[in-house]
């Protein structure tokens, strides 16, 4: 028997992240060579490493292929509506400040339909960790162009190539006030995991853009091969430039990809400024929020 014919069989072993996954929902729905599983993998590794008590972590997603992530994590998790992951998470976080609220959602969800919430959450510096999956399109609906689709890429609603100017996402969130901004690709698993870990411990609005291969629609429509070919493109074209001015992070079709940690700064969060300003204004008349209702009060 050839060596190649005998794969290493190990059915009874347990994946190190099993406790963080809803194993009864695995395999997930994502396509072969899609990068979403990789990004989720990095997120869970970071959560595991963070040492944050698991019950204190909540995951919120919007709608889309990326948005399905919430359904796979063995944590308190919310699959909300298209575009509304950030405001839902805002309510969750402000009503229980002890929670570490992590968002995992797509470019369309966070930046198109949910764009207004994104810029305002960044402006307020709400303490949220956002993992924004940029697969350059609306994948779940079959591959339409979106706010991050590079010019010239062909999508179902841009059959002759997209001609809209895409967002430079790190620049967008940076200029709105995000206090932690990074971009990695699904190939940079160590950097990405580390960034998520840092963001989990960062106080304030953190945004990590993950350039992720969508094999089934983006790659196929643009004849770029499959997800593995896109990883190879990332490999050959990405340049780590930590601390670079986010203005310089534009992405062009199959062009150079600037990745790295761009912003990591301290700034009072929404809750900090609220508490400070109300204490100053009201003195000892100010009664800070006491947290959610306790179970024992119920019927």
């Amino acid at each position: 028997m050839s060596r190649l014919g005998t794969p290493f069989l190990d059915r009874n072993e347990h994946h190190p992240l099993e406790d963080y996954l809803r194993m009864d929902r695995i395999p997930h729905i994502w396509c072969p060579t899609c990068g979403l599983g990789t990004a989720l993998n990095c997120m869970l590794h970071a959560i595991k490493k963070s040492g944050i008590p698991r019950q204190n972590i909540a995951v919120v997603s919007g709608i889309g292929c990326s948005g399905r992530a919430a359904g796979y994590v063995n944590l308190d998790s919310f699959h909300t509506t298209h575009g509304r992951a950030i405001p839902f998470a805002t309510g969750l976080k402000l009503a229980n400040p002890k929670l570490k609220v992590v968002l995992f959602s797509g470019d369309g969800d966070l930046i198109a339909i949910g764009g207004n919430h994104l810029i305002h959450a960044a402006r307020r510096n709400i303490d949220l960790t956002v993992i924004g999956i940029n697969n350059f399109n609306y994948a779940m609906t079959g591959g339409q162009f979106g706010p991050t689709t590079p010019e010239k890429a062909r999508m179902t609603t841009a059959p002759y190539g997209s001609f809209e100017h895409p967002f430079n996402v790190p620049f967008l969130v940076d200029s709105c006030g995000a206090t932690y901004v990074a971009r990695w690709t699904a190939l940079h698993v160590r950097h990405l995991t580390n960034s998520i870990l840092e963001a989990l411990h960062h106080k304030g609005f953190s945004f990590i853009e993950v350039i992720s291969p969508c094999s089934t629609v983006y790659a196929r429509r643009n004849r770029l091969g499959d997800g593995l070919d896109l990883l190879k493109y990332y490999h050959e074209n990405s340049e780590i430039r930590n601390g670079i001015n986010t203005r310089k992070c534009d992405i062009t079709f199959q062009g150079r990809l600037i990745v790295g940690k761009f912003v990591d700064k301290e700034k009072p969060t929404y809750s900090d400024t609220m508490t400070k300003s109300l204490s100053e204004a009201l003195g000892d008349r100010y009664v800070p929020y006491q947290g959610p209702m306790q179970g024992k009060n119920g019927d």
């Binding site: 809803r22 359904g71 919310f78 509506t81 405001p87 009503a95 229980n96 305002h120 209702m293």
Partner: protein
Amino acid sequence: MKSNTPAVLTGAHYWDGDFACAEGAIAVGCRFFAGYPITPSTEVAERIALRFPLIGGVFVQMEDELGSMAAILGAAWAGTKSMTVTSGPGFSLMQENIGLGAMTETPCIVVNVQRGGPSTGLPTLTGQQDMMQARWGSHGDYEIIALSPSSPQECFDLTITCFNLSEKYRVPVLLMMDECVGHMTEKVVVPALGKIKVQHRRWYRGAKEKYRPYVPAKDGVPPMVKTGDDYRFHITGLTHDQRGYPVINPACQKQCVGRLVRKIKDNADKIIILKEEETEDADVIVVSYGISYRVATKAIADARKKGVKVGSLRLITVWPFPEKRIVELAKKTKCLVMPEINQGQVYLALERCAKGMCKTKLVPHYGGWVHDPNDILKAIIEGAR
């Protein structure tokens, strides 16, 4: 030492409906508010912004009503009583997430201080034109609860009732005020703290490992947990099974949506609050709600002076619609008259229930002001013939 301002301002006050609504929410334990300013509801938000820092609540002014609605759902799942307030245009923006609230069975309150529509319509003038939107505004089949106050006192009382119903049935509850009631100033009596009935959250009491988010109690409503207590639950707007996991097929749809519908329908008798006056041997019964009830009372008094036997049925709960009672009344009266500041919305439900057993008469109004009582009077007199 802290000079604490009490949460419940026991005593008699002169408040407008918007203020009374805010105070009702505070009194029943609402501690999270997210909203976006819109006339004629803004005073509620302003009052909350002023009061919450004194009583330990979180007020957040969101970037829009889509965000406000999503935020109160998030806060509810954090384990806090939450509300938002708006008017027509904002109510339209909230609809998708009201649906998420219904689907995920999230207790929360949406107050709509109605103004004239459609579109920007009459920002400062009254209307009752969002009543069908309250019932069917979000897509899909679902049941909702909507109450309508006729006075500032009721804005206070019914806000409390709304929260209690919402906790009991785990559904977003809508308080359908209108500009007139919202801006009307009257005496509002706030009872002592102990006298306010509070429905607490129906916390799950079983073993942690056994928790499934959508296993209903006897009345069809599942108990709830909150985020951060290590239940590791999943909530989705997709059709889901009792574990909360998405299951995309007709059988699960029937089970999932079926229970959302039944938990309200089967408990309708407990949810419906009506006020009846002299309906027993009435020839004509005026069915009304909100500000229109107050106008109708004048018409009813005038009609009685003219010797017409006229009764009144006020819908404090508009949705679910009191179908049973309307059928009973339709059997023994000549005519049901309904004034509404719209072109016939709740009237459609009335007509459907009367099923031709008696006459029904709509007294419509385009909005901007209340009815002329004489128009209602005319309908009463015609109905009595």
